[in-house]
């Protein structure tokens, strides 16, 4: 006998995209809303001072019990499965994508255009920034377009970043402050940033985490939040294409199945678990899974690669003033006409690389206490290190995909996801040019300071990932429409990271939030 939970709208997942959808629907409709989360609760705000202290002292995970044993896949994915999702651990960087990200095929003849433009998304970006509380500095409008100001002024430039910006100004490359969802003034009942510099776990609540939204919605009686309950498959109403039930297992009572019945279902389970659920929901009628008539579920998984380095600077800085703030430039994300495609951002942080205390000198001689201090001072008194990174746009391949991995199963014997990211040949062909060009820009910047590039590296980890249920106007090449509604099932939506067409060259979370607000608006139009 199953336990049945009924509501107008059932949201699967309780991360930041789910928080956006639930919050907006709760404000704009009277619909009953259930949010189902496979994980439980982790450290509350009150507990984060302690878990922060242990993270600093011992490197421990500041979010205990934030994952489910055995519920994991292969490939680049987050392990957190908890109320708040990976939005608990994030640093809170909230840059927007650039207008070019949505039109790379039209502008540069590579990759794919989105079915929406930057201007279409702008009001939802703004709404997302207001909901989560974004603090930012307006950059040059040609590289940082926005129609309204940030909700909060930016984090102040630290002494270190101010000196570094003087340097980048001399180099002629415009940098401004990275926007963050960290309060610079009291905002929505949350505190002001105290510059604790451990933003992965903020002990003051100045950084937005999605659990704040769920707690408020619960306090207002606007949602039912069902935790520790894993949705295993969706089933379709006989004779229609409408989703009828989300079948789940209560992890505390695994012998008693749970059925979530709703008029509208929203999958908000991130880049890995959203496609996974659709594929797991295969049946004789839908042998390839739901929303997958054209075989696009799990495809076009996307993320960006980076080139990074450390630059020696002939200036006195004080590492530790504010390592979790940084400078940002989208100068090369909006590059204008190009002979060869390359778009990337630039970001700069203070660093102590090469200038940390050490046990042995350059000659390998053992240093004792006072000698360590003298050696440390000698390497910091007149010189400093900047960390620089360039995320660059990677064109996703259709065969960059998530599949069900029969060799890896969870406690219920369900196959777990496997993600094999792959860049399109266009990106591979341009990789050498990309790295050489970015390295040249690092060199140019270093020279402007009278410094030098100390070291560089490149990464093919698909960072800030998304895709798997990409949006589009053509069902033959996409899974959902611009609103996140699946082409195949009119009452089934996928939202946030899985729906993006490409990852551009900026952190994705704000874009995931904006897309989720679009989804919520569309759902709200139907149920209001």
């Amino acid at each position: 006998m199953s336990r049945v939970v009924e509501s107008d709208i059932c949201i699967i997942g309780a991360g930041i995209s789910a928080a956006m959808v639930a919050e907006r629907l709760a404000e704009h409709t009277t619909a009953s809303i259930t949010v189902v989360e496979a994980g439980g609760r982790t450290a509350s705000l009150d507990e984060r001072s302690l878990t922060r202290a242990r993270m600093l002292a011992y490197g421990e995970n500041p979010y205990p019990n934030d994952h489910i044993p055995g519920q994991t896949g292969t490939g680049a994915m987050y392990r957190s499965m908890v109320v708040g999702g990976s939005g608990m651990h994030w640093g809170g960087a909230v840059p927007r994508y650039s207008p070019e990200d949505f039109r790379v095929r039209s502008l540069y003849g590579v990759g794919f255009d989105w079915p929406i433009s930057f201007d279409d998304l702008d009001p939802y970006y703004q709404e997302a920034e207001e909901r989560i509380g974004a603090a930012g500095e307006q950059g040059p409008p040609e590289y940082d377009p926005r129609s309204q100001p940030y909700p909060m002024p930016p984090l102040p430039l630290s002494y270190n970043l101010a000196r570094m910006r003087e340097w980048t100004d001399r180099a002629g490359v415009p940098f401004w402050t990275q926007p963050w969802t960290r309060n610079t003034e009291p905002y929505r009942g949350r505190n002001v940033c105290q510059r604790c510099d451990t933003c992965a776990v903020c002990p003051t609540g100045a950084k937005y985490t999605p659990d704040f939204a769920f707690d408020q919605l619960l306090a207002d009686g606007r949602i039912e939040l069902v935790t520790r309950t894993l949705v295993r498959r969706l089933t379709v109403e006989p004779g229609t294409d409408r989703i009828a039930v989300a079948e789940a297992v209560d992890r505390d009572a695994p012998d008693e199945p749970v059925e979530f019945r709703a008029s509208t279902f929203v999958i908000a389970a991130g880049h890995a678990w959203s496609s996974h659920l659709l594929l797991l929901s295969a049946s004789s009628r839908y042998p390839d899974g739901l929303a997958n008539r054209t075989g696009n579920v799990g495809r076009y998984m996307t993320g960006h690669w980076y080139a990074s380095g450390f630059i020696d600077l002939p200036m006195r800085l004080y590492p530790g003033i504010f390592a979790n703030n940084s400078l940002l430039s989208h100068r090369f994300a909006s590059p204008g006409p190009l002979d060869r495609y390359l778009r990337h951002d630039l970001r700069l942080w203070e660093s102590d690389v090469g200038r940390a205390p050490r046990l042995k000198g350059d000659d390998g001689r053992l240093l004792w206490g006072d000698e360590i201090m003298a050696d440390w001072r000698a390497r910091t008194e007149a010189a400093a290190t900047a960390r620089i990174r360039a995320y660059y746009d990677v064109i996703p391949d259709r065969d960059s995909h998530l599949t069900l991995d029969g060799a890896t199963r969870n406690a219920m014997s369900d196959p777990m996801p496997r993600i094999d990211f792959r860049a399109a040949q266009a990106t591979i062909d341009l990789e050498r040019h990309t790295h050489d060009t970015i390295r040249g820009r690092f060199d140019d910047l270093a020279r402007a300071a009278g410094g030098a590039v100390r070291s560089t590296r490149t990464s093919r980890l698909f960072e800030h990932p998304g895709g798997g249920c990409r949006m589009g106007d053509d069902p033959a090449t996409s899974v959902v429409d611009r609103w996140g509604r699946t082409h195949d099932h009119e009452n089934l939506f996928v939202t946030g990271a899985p729906t993006i067409v490409s990852s551009g060259c900026a952190n994705g979370t704000l874009t995931f939030c904006a897309l989720s607000l679009m989804t919520a608006e569309e759902i709200g139009n139907g149920v209001r």
Binding site: Y58, N61, P62, G75, S80, Q194, C196, P319, R358, L359
Partner: protein, 203 residues
């Protein structure tokens, strides 16, 4: 990782750690093996301070050095072996910290003192600094060039140094400025050059 596997790992690593030091300090090794799974014995305080005097900056002064050692002792007491570590970005595997280093560190301190009494007839604290450093040179010489994290230090002296030099106190002392690394400092003043550390204002 299942809880039973985690418990097994904790017990195993404690036993392994005890066994690995048994050669240099048989008594300590047996005692620690018997205590596997329980709280480790406190680090021998006198010998730890004798080591600290040899490896921490003299500019700390006696009081500053004592504060640094006491902070290390508190840190050591709070250390949990095989604890779940922060998730690396986009890595689905859960990672755990290493085995308990404290039994080995305690045995090293006991071994140092025992060796000193054999060689010089007095405790480590009673010999002069050149002799003390001479005794520490061999294990420290085997360490790598960087200080690393204290919990992963093979030798107690490196752990003590790594702990101190990673502290906000050490950063302030190095730069002669009040930086307050990773202290919750508020946003005011972030843009100013950090204030000069007044003499005697260290730790």
């Amino acid at each position: 990782m299942a809880e039973s596997r985690r418990s097994f790992l904790k017990q195993s690593v404690a036993t392994v750690a005890a066994a690995s030091v048994a050669g240099c300090a048989p008594d300590a090794g047996r005692r620690l093996a018997a205590e596997a799974g329980g709280s480790p014995a406190p680090l021998p305080a006198g010998t730890l301070r004798a080591v600290a005097e040899a490896v921490l900056p003299a500019e700390l002064g006696d009081e500053g050095r004592e504060r640094a050692v006491a902070a290390f002792e508190r840190w050591s007491e709070g250390l949990e072996p095989v604890a779940e570590l922060s998730h690396p970005y986009l890595v689905p595997e859960i990672r755990y910290s290493g085995p308990d280093p404290r039994p080995g560190w305690a045995a090293q301190l006991e071994g140092l003192d025992k060796e000193c009494r054999s060689r010089h007839g007095v405790s480590l604290a009673a010999i002069d600094m050149p002799e003390r450093r001479k005794m520490l040179e061999r294990p420290l010489g085997q360490a790598g060039p960087s200080l690393g994290s204290p919990a992963s230090a093979d030798h107690i002296a490196v752990a003590l140094m790594a702990h101190f030099f990673a502290s906000p106190v050490a950063t302030d002392l190095c730069h002669g400025r009040v930086i307050g690394k990773q202290q919750c400092r508020g946003l005011d003043g972030a843009g100013a050059e950090p204030a000069v550390l007044v003499a005697g204002g260290a730790p």
